[in-house]
């Protein structure tokens, strides 16, 4: 579950204050796929990073997976991201020094609970299998197509079995057919009970969403 209440965000350009979010209220329930659409520069990504506990410089209240973010230390916020949030980015953001499988393993290797590496590897292989890329486990990102890279990114996002998936223009760098495959994958994740929030400016994504919200002038509207 994601809950934002009265979230504000202001950028500063020298002396000038540029409000980008002006009191955003949002609630996304488990099993719901919600799309936020809006023009470039409207603050969609900013909203996503606030909802994902990556951006801490904002006003208002945010709760993710039943955890209010107010007052959380950087370490606890990081642990929450690791445990409860999966990010998917437009430009995939895979680490070039790692294979597809190792990229998926990354959140597991960051854990403090002493999870066995073999166990992490096995779960990462399962996650890759789920997105249909078991055969490409050893391939470095440079040898994968755009669609395959995004699938690896999704496998990394679902590896920790998070409660929330946050996707930032996930089909922005993909062709139509590949994009459709990714969108249907998000639909599957929502049906599995995950809270999925996608920011996009593409209609095909919003068509698959249960709800579509428009971000305009710093505010959300249906």
């Amino acid at each position: 579950m994601i809950r934002l209440a009265g979230v504000t965000k202001t950028f500063r350009d020298g002396e000038q204050a540029l409000p980008i979010l002006r009191g955003v209220d949002l609630e996304v329930a488990p099993g719901e796929l919600v799309a936020i659409v809006g023009p470039s520069g409207s603050g969609k990504s900013t909203l996503l990073y606030i909802a994902g506990a990556l951006d801490t410089d904002y006003g208002g209240e945010v709760t993710i997976a039943d955890v209010p973010l107010a007052g959380l230390s950087p370490t606890r916020r990081a642990a929450l991201r690791n445990r409860a949030v999966g990010f998917v980015f437009q430009s995939f953001n895979l680490l070039q020094g790692l294979s597809a499988l190792e990229n998926v393993m990354l959140p597991g290797m960051l854990r403090r609970d002493g999870t066995d590496r073999a166990d992490v590897r096995e779960r990462a292989a399962d996650a890759l299998d789920r997105v249909g890329l078991a055969a490409k486990a050893k391939a470095p990102p440079a040898r994968l197509s755009g669609g395959e890279r995004q699938r690896v990114a999704i496998a990394r996002a679902i590896f920790t079995r998070p409660r929330v998936i946050l996707a930032d223009e996930p089909t922005g760098n993909l062709d139509a057919v590949t994009g459709e495959g990714i969108i249907s994958l998000f639909g599957e994740l929502a049906r599995d009970g995950l809270t999925v929030l996608v920011v996009t400016h593409e209609e095909r994504v919003s068509r698959a969403a249960a709800r579509v919200l428009h971000l305009h002038d710093g505010r959300l509207s249906s």
């Binding site: 990504s45 900013t46 951006d55 990081a78 991201r81 690791n82 960051l110 403090r112 590496r117």
Partner: protein, 427 residues
């Protein structure tokens, strides 16, 4: 993040930037190699110098003063009373008198079984000194060192360094063979003519044959003298009517090296002099070695510091280029402390790898240098087989110092990495 996870991610980051990792490892390697090589050289030369000048830090050789007020102050001649007073000084563990034999003694032929090591017909005059058994007891391993009143062979102790000098200098000069390698001369008997001198008109009226038996080798015996029991010298002096002129030297054993300066001062206050010939030579050589090694180690430390700076600069540039990668790590659950730890672990791996490679390189360079030096240098006494010493602590230091330097160098880049704002970087 667990230590295993930390190393896994650090290794992956290094793999992603192989070139940077290799350059940084090379910097650490140069620092480590110079540090290990210079330390090993200093230590090796120091070992060689100690073989050449084996002065013991706790020994003080007291001799009669050349000009003294000893008569007034109760000093001057080194008699039994003076030995007792010296032994009673604070900080003295023991005092061993020495008495030079004033009866000539010559070796007219080779020890039995060593004919090939002796020029035919040669007679060698041997300076003899009588020493208290305690002085050489540690080198005799229980073998007796007492005056044989029955005319049996006189137990004798030679300087351990004399064999080296014989092999490298005397044997070539005499044009005879060197001693067989590994030979134990202990127990070898040498014929002597007591009262005979090769110097004209110095031979005593009475000359008789005797034997010396080598009881041991000791660095506490002067290089070109044979040490026999003090009682033997006293007996021979009585036999030949030599007057008692007091001991020629008293060797004091200090309880601790720190007591030595106080003992030297006390002996001088008593009107005696202190023979610092060998000690001074050893100290001079030791000082030269220490200063040279210190300078070289300082140079190596500077190289390590430069390596740390190079690593710091390289990692800082790398961090700037990897901001997005760091932001992704943050997105998947890395806290700022994790990011800092990852960068430091990368530096640590670089330092350990560079240190290990540098240490191996130093071992190789040392072996090569030894080979070249031994090929070029003449075979002189105490020529070391190696100019380097590699105890385990030097090898460990060769890895630990570059690793520490790399980690210190990575502190600033790690702090920069931990401050990367993931939201702004990923936007």
């Amino acid at each position: 993040m667990s230590a295993r996870g930390l190393l896994w991610i650090a290794r992956a980051s290094l793999r992603a930037d192989r070139r940077g990792a290799i350059v940084n490892t090379a910097a650490a390697c140069v620092g480590a190699a110079s540090l290990v090589l210079f330390l090993a050289l200093g230590l090796g030369v120091s070992h060689a110098a100690r073989r050449m000048f084996p002065a013991e830090a706790r020994l003080v050789d007291v001799v009669p003063g050349a000009v003294s007020l000893g008569g007034v102050l109760g000093g001057g001649q080194l008699d039994d009373g003076a030995v007792a007073r010296l032994r009673a000084l604070p900080g003295v563990a023991d005092a061993w008198p020495r008495l030079a034999l004033r009866v000539p003694l010559a070796v007219p032929g080779p020890p039995r079984g060593l004919d090939y090591n002796w020029p035919p017909g040669m007679t060698v005059q041997v300076p003899v000194v009588g020493v208290a058994p305690g002085l050489v007891a540690q080198d005799l391993r229980g073998r007796p060192f007492v005056d044989p009143r029955d005319g049996g062979p006189i137990p004798t102790v030679l300087s351990g360094r004399l064999l080296e000098v014989y092999d490298k200098t005397i044997a070539p000069a005499w044009n005879v063979r060197r001693l067989p390698p590994g030979i134990s001369l202990v127990g070898v008997e040498v014929p002597v003519r007591i009262g005979f001198s090769i110097v004209p008109q110095k031979t005593e009226a009475r000359v008789y044959d005797g034997r010396l038996v080598l009881a041991g080798l000791s660095d506490r015996v002067p290089l070109y003298m044979a040490a026999v029991p003090l009682d033997t010298v006293r007996r021979l002096h009585r036999e030949y009517g030599k007057s008692d002129q007091g001991y020629t030297q008293v060797t004091l054993l200090a309880r601790r090296p720190d007591d030595v300066p106080g003992l030297v001062a006390a002996a001088r206050r008593m009107g005696f002099a202190v023979d610092e010939g060998e000690r001074a030579a050893a100290e001079r050589v030791g000082t030269v070695v220490l200063v040279t090694t210190g300078a070289l180690v300082l140079l190596a430390a500077v190289m390590c510091a430069l390596a740390a700076l190079a690593i710091a600069q390289s990692l800082s540039a790398s961090i700037r280029g990897r901001a997005k990668e760091i932001a992704v790590l943050a997105a998947v659950g890395a806290a700022p402390a994790d990011v800092r730890a990852i960068v430091l672990a990368e530096a640590g791996i670089i330092g350990v790898l560079g240190g290990a490679v540098g240490t191996l390189a130093a071992l190789g360079v040392a072996a090569l240098a030894d080979r070249v030096a031994l090929g070029l240098l003449p075979d002189f006494p105490f020529r070391p087989e190696t100019f380097f010493a590699f105890p385990a602590w030097i090898l460990l230091l060769g890895i630990a110092v570059p690793a520490a330097a790399a980690v210190v160098g990575a502190l600033a880049p790690a702090a920069i990495a931990a401050r990367v704002d993931p939201a702004r970087t990923l936007s």
